[in-house]
């Protein structure tokens, strides 16, 4: 019996990912998120229709890993850039992939208004509660008491303000049809995240409006934790400030078990 008959291939690199080692740190949530996005694009046969906009942040080099058209946006402007692309290509698929600093600090206005216009764009929002790329400064999503290089002694509400729940804020807008928060810190959470991403992408395909999936994502390097502890910290700490689950869903899709 030949090997081809004896073994069936049941796991491989998605076509939407290039065969390239990433620069992400061990245990980083970005790698997992990349894989999920790529798997869903493959499953929906979207790779050749997709134009992606990575952020300025740790994922700035995402075009080295994603195997579809991509363009760099200035820090925070991914959703404005994506808006321009979407208007030229109403028949294509457009996604942004953004960190918390990109999406919820410097790009807040672009985020809110693209969502509120109901742009047919799907946004993958990586919330790691820290500025990864620049070396661990406070993010808008940094938890109270969390240490960052610019919050000595921990984030203090009076001094540094509150962690921002931008996904919940966005959900208020009629332009947003789907918003869900998942965590990349357990097998179950990762599976859940994939489902959410699929729903978000489907809603764009069905011309419904803006969709966002927030992924609580470990940054072991800047949290100064082992990957294992980082998972635990997401599960125990982050989810208290950012509870998981569907925040808004007006798609009307049935949840398949």
């Amino acid at each position: 019996m030949s090997a081809e008959v004896a073994y069936e291939k049941i796991f491989e690199r998605p076509a939407s990912l290039k065969d390239a080692p990433t620069h992400y740190c061990p245990g980083c949530g970005h790698s997992i998120a990349h894989r999920l996005v790529a798997e869903v694009l493959d499953e929906l046969s979207l790779r050749e229709k997709t134009i992606g906009v990575p952020p300025v942040g740790c994922a700035v080099l995402a075009y080295n890993y994603f195997n579809f058209d991509m363009v760099e946006a200035p820090h925070g402007r991914a959703l404005a850039v994506a808006t321009g692309i979407r208007r030229v290509h109403p028949d294509k698929f457009v996604l942004t992939y953004q960190g918390d600093g990109d999406l919820a600090a410097i790009g807040t206005a672009e985020t809110i208004h693209a969502a509120n216009r109901g742009e047919r764009i799907s946004c993958i929002f990586i919330n790691n509660a820290i500025y990864g790329m620049t070396g661990g400064q406070m993010a808008p999503t940094t938890l109270l008491n969390q240490n960052a290089t610019t919050t000595p002694g921990g984030r203090n509400q009076r001094l540094h303000g509150n962690p921002i729940d931008i996904t919940r804020m966005l959900a208020v807008s009629d332009g947003v049809v789907f918003a869900e928060r998942c965590a990349l810190s357990s097998i179950k959470g990762i599976r859940r995240a994939k489902k959410a991403i699929k729903k978000a992408f489907q809603s764009q395909l069905d011309d419904m409006g803006f969709s966002i999936v927030e992924l609580l994502s470990p940054c072991p390097t800047n949290w100064k934790m082992s990957p294992k502890d980082a998972w635990a910290w997401v599960n125990d700490q982050m989810t208290q400030t950012y509870p998981l689950g569907v925040i808004k869903d007006t798609t009307g899709y049935e949840d398949k078990k």
Partner: protein, 364 residues
């Protein structure tokens, strides 16, 4: 076919010309004195099946332009001075990524919020790149409505040809004034040269990525900058534009662009009536600055008088061009005041005498 002769204000002229030049994507944020342009396009884009978005800011608008451009559309934004300052990061990214776009600046008085009267104080910003990094954008400076229309066409063509943002530099007065215009015919959008670098999904080809970050250890950014510079050299070589009037036997050349050149024309007429022979050199491209023709004139004409609607910005390019070949006089008025031809005529008389009473002699 070109249009009938039409009477429109300058902002509407730019809007109509942009549509005829194939612009189907406009993104902008309101600011006086150019609001008539987005207002016009908000309706006109609906007629032609284009996109008009009033962005949430100038920052967002320029980045929407970036997106539409990378997707292959002819895209434009417009604003006035404070808004143009906000667009500079986006323009720098587009220059780095070599993305075409047209940016209209109907200049107003600054610094800060300044005022809404015509001004030419953004010359440095426009001609020196404006944002961060080593880049240039061609700058076209119309002096009237007909030229506004024609240079709008040219701006889109140059942007595509060189894959670079191009700026159309007018002022608040030009945007408001009504003059008769004959528009060039609609371009055939289907027959524009194909862009083989755009992002439209990778069906049937390898994926493309466009970016300006070049971290590579093999000098990627270094070589990219050399490549950009080669392009800027080509533009400098091929694209200078200017106009001269009355240069034969002139005892002095006035150098002025845009609205200032229109005022200077009237002043020159006044002096002609007094028996003086004065020519006008009007740069149409501010970058690249039309150095060779001006240098040539300065070899035979002993005086050059520079007049600007600001405290002296273009004069630096004149100095770099003319050097010690001719005496250089400068007169500038800060933004917020539209000088009369009589005021400019006083400057020209003073420059002819070299008495320093109006304006000043520039020591090289």
């Amino acid at each position: 076919m070109p249009s009938e002769k039409m009477l429109l204000n300058g902002s509407h002229v730019v809007g109509e010309a942009a549509v005829r030049a194939g612009c189907r994507y406009y993104f902008g944020y309101p600011i006086t004195p150019q609001n008539e342009l987005p207002e016009y396009l908000s309706a006109r884009m609906q007629d032609v099946g284009g996109t008009f978005i009033q962005g949430e800011s100038e920052v967002a608008s320029i980045n929407m332009v970036l997106g539409a451009s990378v997707a292959g559309g002819r895209a434009m934004t417009s604003s006035s001075s404070p808004g143009i300052s906000l667009k500079q990061e986006g323009i720098s990214y587009m220059a780095g990524m070599e993305l075409p776009a047209v940016i209209v600046n109907m200049m107003r008085g600054g610094p800060g919020l300044g005022n809404i009267a015509p001004s030419a104080a953004d010359y440095f910003q426009a001609t020196r790149g404006g944002g961060h990094g080593d880049y240039r954008t061609p700058v076209l400076a119309p002096a009237g409505s007909q030229e506004l229309a024609e240079l709008t066409f040219l701006a889109f063509d140059l942007a595509d040809q060189y894959r670079n943002p191009v700026m159309l530099l007018g002022d608040g007065l030009m945007g408001q004034v009504m003059e008769p215009v004959v528009f060039p015919d609609f371009i055939d959008l289907e027959n524009l040269p194909k862009k083989d670098w755009i992002l439209d999904g990778c069906e049937g080809r390898e994926p493309r990525a466009l970016y300006s970050m070049l971290l590579g250890q093999q000098g990627e950014l270094y070589y990219h900058n050399l490549h950009l510079q080669e392009k800027y050299d080509q533009i400098t070589e091929n694209e200078i534009r200017w106009e001269t009037q009355g240069e034969d036997n002139a005892e002095m050349m006035v150098v002025a662009y845009g609205t200032a050149s229109r005022i200077a024309e009237s002043a020159i007429e006044e002096l002609k009536a007094e028996g003086f022979s004065i020519g006008l050199f009007r740069p149409i491209t501010l970058w690249p600055f039309p150095k060779p023709p001006l240098r040539k004139l300065a070899q035979s004409i002993p005086k050059v008088a520079v007049f600007e609607l600001c405290m002296g910005q273009m004069v630096e390019d004149v100095v770099l061009t003319v050097g010690e070949r001719a005496e250089i006089y400068f007169h500038g008025l800060p933004g917020g005041i539209i000088p009369t031809p009589a005021q400019v005529a006083d400057f020209l008389r003073s420059a002819l005498k070299g008495d320093g009473k109006v304006g000043r002699r520039i020591e090289v």
